[in-house]
């Protein structure tokens, strides 16, 4: 199966199957007809606004809402005290002031005892318009008693550090997961320690240790988070329009949190302006809009502004990593050991499968063949915003790939070996697949060396190295950076992957109408991934129905079957598989009906291009459209075959899929200013079968831009007083097209053997693969100054400091 396979075109000119096809959703987006949460306006709707804490850590001695309540137009002011007075009839906490997080921790809906991060929700005003709601916030008097903020994960672990979660009776700032563990290990601790010790003692081996910080960044989707809630007191029905990447999972959590009957909750996630994991968690604002509707009896809209989004919603990363890599002097990697201090903020709100408290970080052993790997991850509370799923969440694969790819480059520098050569020496070989990694992952398929050689060829790597040597002689600093990544995506097999007890299998429904048009109902929700296009193509590929004849319905729990949503690149591996499987069920049924119509046995039929025909006699055929009409007509059907043409399925993936790729980045560094210019970016991705290559390329383009942003400019920093310094786009810089080069994309296609159409998922590949390529390129450029590592973001100021050999501290604004 290759991407260039010839497929027939539909009357509308679309491929009846896989191939390039314009995104159908763009019709409405480019005409300004998208329908986002903030576009929702219900009769009688009122508006909510949240009062947020100016302090990172403070005791609340009292809240006086009386002046706000008196402002004309204010309907209600809700505080933590009010919520505390509402008992909750379930096991997840005893009152409404607290809610469960996706990691079985608790999070304040509205602060009661203390505020624990700057921007934390303190009170909720409901008013007749947005202006009055904001005005009322200024009339709420909160008596704060500031406490010492804990902004540094290392400080949080020190004895005597202020205790952040005294509400839980904590004696320190450690985080205990649902299994009772304070830290989390994977791999072979003893074997790895022994291998490293042996290498240390062996003159033919080297051991390199490097501290690497992946600082806190924010996904910054164009659309901020928000919701419109309406509890109809007559029917008891709660309708929630919300920015959710996982409407079904959210509905179930609301049922648990609010004690509301699940069948009376409808969650609608309309068009979503970017997710990147920012819209996986449940925020207090969503819950407050529901509470607000219960209190006022009216629909309540709550919509964040940019500052609220950047300072209070799900961040990403904040991993302090120390890696040790051992290898022979010939460059054969022997072992990698990793120690991580993970800053989770004030509440442990990460969304990871329950059995994976550090997500899939332990895929850090990477794309290389060596027997011993081990990691230990220690999570800790600090006075920062909670979350930690966000930004092409990838369940921490981004951090893992960054670490190993930096370590490999550090090793190359130590050995004086070309980083491409070192990687080629260690890449897994095709015959090793399925490959069980030292931390227990089973990689499904890969032809790594092919992919890497294609990337090097596209880059003209040897010529780049010659150019670099010439330039260095002239005092010019260009750098060439490589990364090779393997991801495990498509969570996941339900026997060992769940979030809050909800297994990660996806339902789907396909219904073919009498005229042969079809509707496909998905559980996953698109935030820009083009599901309405690509899922129609999967059905088209399986059934021969033109994609324009297939309506894809998603994002509404009343209209779609249950499933866990879109994040972690899971849609194509899980729901994409479901779409193929449900289409095959319909195809099997169509065969029975065709056989009845053609008066033959189903076994006598063969499938070709949207029709069942008698083997060897293509003239005796029934198209899928004819069969659809027959299935709804009066044709007598064989025993056991029901009328109509539809099917449902729940897809439980047998394993993750393992997309991979090789990236090459070329930068020029201005030694006078430290400014980095990304000159070229070559990305060769292997995500298995490409349903729509154009959509794949779009995902890769976005991911590279993300990676350039994280590597060079994006940062949520804090000062020592706990102030967030990344609260606007003047301070939180994002790359624009001017900072990004023309991307040079290539592909290899190694289908997943266990996925029905061989597709692997590509949503996060470039976000995962590009940061190390950019950083490796910058470090390569400034290596003549003796620099072996510097942390992201490699801002001009940080590069300038690194060149001088001065320390760079990126996560805090301290000198």
């Amino acid at each position: 199966m290759t991407a260039v396979e010839e497929v027939p075109l539909s009357p509308a000119g679309n491929p009846i199957g896989f191939g390039n096809m314009k995104r159908v959703e763009d019709q409405r987006f480019v005409r300004g007809h998208g329908n986002y949460v903030d576009d929702v306006s219900l009769p009688g709707m009122v508006h909510g606004a949240i009062l947020r804490s100016p302090f990172a850590h403070a005791r609340i001695n009292g809240i006086d809402t009386s002046r706000a309540e008196q402002l004309p137009g204010v309907l209600a002011v809700i505080t933590g005290k009010v919520l505390e007075g509402i008992p909750r009839p379930d096991l997840l906490g005893d009152n409404f002031a607290w809610m469960p997080t996706l990691s079985y921790d608790t999070q304040a809906v509205l602060a009661t005892d203390k505020v624990r991060f700057q921007g934390q929700e303190v009170a909720f005003v409901i008013a007749t318009d947005r202006y009055i709601a904001k005005d009322a916030l200024e009339l709420i008097d909160v008596d704060y008693e500031p406490l010492e903020p804990v902004m540094d994960a290392k400080r949080a672990m020190e004895p005597g550090a202020p205790i952040i979660r005294d509400d839980k009776g904590q004696q320190d700032n450690s985080i205990t997961d649902v299994h009772g563990h304070k830290d989390w290990e994977s791999g072979n601790a003893i074997g790895t320690a022994e291998a490293i010790a042996a290498a240390q003692a062996d003159p033919d081996c080297v051991v390199v240790t490097q501290e690497v910080m992946y600082p806190r960044v924010h996904p910054a989707p164009m659309e901020t988070c928000g919701s419109v809630a309406f509890l109809d007191k007559v029917t008891g029905q709660l309708t929630l329009y919300t920015t959710s990447q996982a409407p079904h999972a959210h509905r179930t959590v609301y049922a648990m949190v609010a004690g509301l009957p699940e069948h009376k909750i409808r969650v609608i996630s309309p068009d979503i302006g970017g997710g990147f994991g920012n819209k996986v968690g449940i925020y207090p604002g969503y819950v407050l809009s529901i509470v607000g509707s219960i209190v006022t009896g009216k629909p309540v809209k709550w919509m964040e502004d940019r500052n609220e989004n950047l300072t209070s919603t799900s961040f990403a990363r904040d991993y302090h990593m120390t890696g040790t890599i051992a290898a022979t002097k010939e460059g054969k990697i022997l072992a990698v050991d990793v120690d991580v201090l993970a800053d989770h903020g004030a509440f442990n709100g990460v969304a990871q499968p329950t059995n994976y408290p550090a997500g899939f970080f332990h895929i850090f052993s990477g794309s290389y063949d060596y027997p011993n790997a081990h990691c230990k991850v220690t999570p800790v509370y600090t006075n920062k915003a909670p979350g930690g799923v966000a930004y092409a969440c990838s369940f921490r694969i981004t951090e893992a790939v960054y670490l190993i790819e930096r370590l490999v480059d550090c090793l190359a520098a130590e050995l004086g070996m070309d980083p491409a050569e070192l990687r080629l020496k260690n890449l897994l070989r095709p015959e090793q697949f399925p490959y069980t990694s030292p931390t227990g992952w089973v990689y499904d398929s890969g032809q790594y060396e092919n992919t890497m050689r294609l990337a090097l060829e596209m880059a003209d790597y040897d010529q780049l190295r010659r150019e670099q040597a010439e330039k260095r002689a002239r005092g010019e600093y260009m750098g060439i950076g490589l990364s090779f990544f393997t991801e495990g995506v498509g969570a996941g097999p339900r026997k060992d992957m769940d979030i809050l007890g909800l297994g990660m299998a996806d339902g789907i429904e396909l219904r073919v109408h009498p005229t042969g048009k079809a509707v496909l109902r998905l559980s996953v929700q698109s935030q820009g991934q083009a599901h309405e296009t690509t899922y129609a193509q999967i059905v088209a590929h399986e059934l021969g129905i033109p994609p324009e004849d297939i309506e894809v319905v998603h994002g509404d729990t009343d209209q779609t079957p249950f499933g866990l949503g879109t994040y972690g690149s899971r849609s194509t591996p899980v729901s994409g598989a479901a779409a193929a499987v449900v289409s095959r069920k319909v195809k099997d049924k169509a065969r029975q009906i065709a056989a009845a119509a053609l008066e033959c046995s189903p076994d006598d039929l063969e499938w070709q291009l949207g029709q069942w025909h008698v083997k060897g006699d293509p003239e005796r055929a029934k198209t899928i459209q004819e069969i659809a009409l027959l299935s709804h007509g009066s044709l007598e059907l064989p025993d056991g075959v029901e009328g109509h043409l539809e099917a449902t399925t729940v897809y439980n993936p047998p394993n993750l899929t393992y997309p991979y790729g090789c990236y090459v980045c070329v930068v020029d560094v201005d030694p006078g200013t430290g400014q980095v210019k990304v000159r070229r970016f070559i990305a060769v991705d292997d995500c298995g079968t490409r349903i729509n290559p154009m959509v794949v390329e779009g995902q890769v383009h976005g991911g590279i831009a993300d990676g350039i942003g994280m590597a060079l400019m994006e940062l949520i920093a804090f000062d020592e007083d706990g102030n967030c310094l990344g609260g606007s786009f003047m301070d939180y810089l994002l790359p624009t097209s001017m900072e990004c080069p023309d991307y040079e994309l290539g592909e290899t296609v190694t289908p997943s053997p266990h996925h029905p159409i061989g597709a692997k998922g590509v949503g996060e590949s470039a976000t995962v693969g590009s940061p190390p390529a950019v950083v490796n390129a910058v470090i390569d450029a400034i290596s003549p100054f003796g620099v072996r590592h510097a942390d992201m973001p490699l801002t001009p100021a940080n590069v300038w400091r690194a060149i001088q050999g001065r320390p760079v501290r990126v996560d805090m604004a301290v000198e």
Partner: protein
Amino acid sequence: MIPIAFDYVRPTTIPEAVAALVASGEDGKILAGGQSLMPVLRLRMAAPSVVIDCSEIADLQGVRDDGNSIVIGAGTTHHDVMNSPIVKEHSPLLAMATATVADPAIRHRGTLGGALAHADPAGDLPAVALALDGVLSVTGPNGSRDIAAADFFTDYFTTSMAEDEILVSVTLPKLGAGWGYHYEKFQRTAQGWAIVGVAAAVHRSNGNITAARIGLTNMAPSPVRASSVETALSGADATVKAVGDAAASAADGTRATSDLHAAADYREHLARVITKRAVLTAGGI
């Protein structure tokens, strides 16, 4: 991101605008292009009782040639300034610097007067007005007066205009023949604000630099002249070496601040590097 309620008036003459300012007590705000004022209102960092929209005042618009100088109405948009044939001919440094301001959408609304009156330390245009010895004409209830650029910018976002005065125009002397110009802006993203900016005008004759004027953006609470560089350049050889030596004192007398983008020592370093580049380009060296 929602402002506090305010009244709104839109006068069509300068006297009407001044009257509205006076009537508001100390509480009125002039609105020009709104590119700085609206963010400030939305963040509730300012809460004027009345916003006086001056965008319809014809007397604030346009560029004219006044013999030895050019006069630019305060309400002229960045777009119109940088495309004005008069500005391009007689004050190319202003045209160059204006072209680096933000992006086309913002340049179509933002005005020269607004940028100067706002006096943002990171704004590009105050340093240009200072380097070119511009004169700012303001009008208030007691009539009009002229303020030299060197006396106009007094502190962060602060000018020597009184609360009830409005900026009417900016006069820039024509420098005449033999001058070369360059605005060198160091920014982190293409449309970002200046981390440091250098406005340079360099006069050359016979292989020597005869005079130089250098204004620095974002090296102090308000724009500053790099006077020691100017002195060192006057009469210096037009060589890379001589310019580099002169530029080494670019940070002298500045008061750079530290923020997320740059610590003070890095800004000082940038001032030296960028000044050298600006002078070399302006001097065609």
